[in-house]
Amino acid sequence: QPAEDEVKSLPGVFNPQLSSRQYSGYLSASNTIKLHYWFVESERDPVNDPLVLWMNGGPGCSSLDGYLSELGPYLINPDGTTLTPNPNSWSKVANVIFLEAPAGVGFSYSDDQNYTTSDNETAKNNYLALLDFFAKFPNMAKKPFFITGESYGGVYVPTLSVKVMANASINFQGFAIGNGLLDSVMNTNTAVYYAYYHAIIGEDVWAKLQQYCCKDGKCNFAAPPNQQCQDLVITVQNTMMGIGINPYDVTGDCAGGVPGHSSLQKQNTFLKHFFEPSFLKALKNPKGNGSVSFDSN
C-alpha cells in the first residue's frame, strides 16, 4: 500500500483510531488526468473480504458524497465539521473504493483543464485509473471485485465493466446499480406513469394523456405523436420537476423549500441526460405556450 496516501486521521472524528485503514490520493488515467480516490479497507476482514468500487452519478457528481452521506464508514453531521461512525457502512463487509470521475469532478482534475468528455472516454479513464489502483494496491488485485454505482452510474458501471471483463487478470465477479439510468426512453415513459400512480398528476391530465398519447394500450410519452400529447407531456414534466416536489424522494421534503424558478432552470444541466428531449421543453421554455390548463391544482 502507498504509505504516502494513508489517511492517518480525519478531522471531526472523535475516536483518534479510524475504524479501518484508509487511503486518499490520485490515480493516473490517460494523458494529464488524475482521478482522486478514497479507499477504505474492510472493517471486518480486509484480507478475505471482496473489493467494491463505488461511483456516484451526475454525470459530473462526486463519489465523496457517497462516502459522507451514503455508505462510507463516517457520515457528515449537519454542522459540517464533525463525522459520525456509520454502523451500516458497506466497509463493514467489503474493501470500498470511492472514485471521483470524470476529471473535473470533486478533487479530480486534468492538467490541461479540458473537462469535455463522453461515456466511452470516461470508461477508458476509469479503467486506466483502476489499473493504477491495482498497481498501488497489489494486495487487492486478486480479490473478488465488484463495480457498483448509482444514478448515472447506470452508464458508468456497465461501460467500465465491459472493459474490466476483458482483463483476465482482474477477478471481476459482477456489478450492482442503484436507481440507475439504464434506458432513457423507458425512464421517460415510465416517469409519467409514476407521476400518475403517486398522485402527482390528476385524473384530468391522465385522461387527456390517454386520449392523445396512447393507442391500443401503448403510450408514447418519450416521443409524443402529436402536438396535444407534447403539450400534455410538458405539463406533466413541469409538475414533476418544476414546482418544488423533490424528484429524488417524492414522499419527502425538498431541502430549502420550494425553489424559485431560476434555480429550477439550472436543473436542465443534469435532467437532459436522464430524459428524452420532448420531456424537457418546459424547462427550456418555461413561458412557452405549451402548458395545458391544470384543473387539479
Binding site: 454525470p59 440507475g180 423507458m186 424528484p247
Partner: protein, 146 residues
C-alpha cells in the same frame, strides 16, 4: 453545482476545510470541492441511450443487481424493472417481498444472472434513506445469496 432539493452544505463545508484537504492529500492547486460539476455536466457527451447491449455482453459471465428506491422519480423503479424484464433472462421465481428487521423492505424478482429489487420508501440514494436494508442487500449480493 447544485442538485435540486438536496442539501450538500455540510459535506461541502467539511471537504473544503484546510485540515480535511491536508488529511486527504489534496494539493493546494486543486479547486474547491463541489458535489457536482456544472462544467462537466454541461459538456458531457452521452453516447448510450440504452444499456441493453452492454448487459447482454456482461450477463453470461457476470451477475448483476439492479435496485431502486421506490420513492425516486429521477430514475424510477418502473423504468428499471421494465429494463431488466426486457433482457429476457430466465425467471428463477415469482416476484416476492424481501425482509429486513422483520419488516417488508421491498420486493425482489430474481432472474438468471440478474436480480431486480425495490427498496421500500427509499429515495434516489438508497444507502442514505434505508441504510440497514441497503447493507443487507449488498452483503447478500456480494456473497451470492438470495
Amino acid at each position: 453545482n447544485v442538485i435540486p432539493c438536496i442539501d450538500a452544505g455540510p459535506q461541502t463545508q467539511y471537504l473544503n476545510t484546510a485540515e480535511v484537504r491536508l488529511a486527504l492529500h489534496i494539493p493546494d492547486n486543486v479547486s474547491k470541492w463541489a458535489i457536482c460539476s456544472g462544467v462537466v455536466g454541461a459538456n458531457y457527451k452521452r453516447q448510450y441511450q440504452t444499456m441493453k447491449d452492454l448487459f447482454n455482453m456482461l450477463l453470461p459471465k457476470h451477475r448483476a443487481l439492479i435496485y431502486n428506491g421506490d420513492a425516486d422519480m429521477m430514475c424510477n423503479f418502473l423504468g428499471d424493472q421494465k429494463f431488466v424484464a426486457s433482457l429476457q433472462q430466465k425467471e428463477l421465481g415469482p416476484r416476492r417481498p424481501w425482509i429486513h428487521a422483520k419488516q417488508i423492505a421491498g420486493f425482489v424478482h430474481e432472474y438468471d444472472q440478474i436480480t431486480f429489487m425495490t427498496v421500500k420508501n427509499a429515495g434516489h440514494m438508497v444507502p442514505s434513506f434505508t441504510p440497514g436494508a441497503a447493507l443487507q442487500m449488498i452483503t447478500n449480493f456480494l456473497n451470492n445469496k438470495p
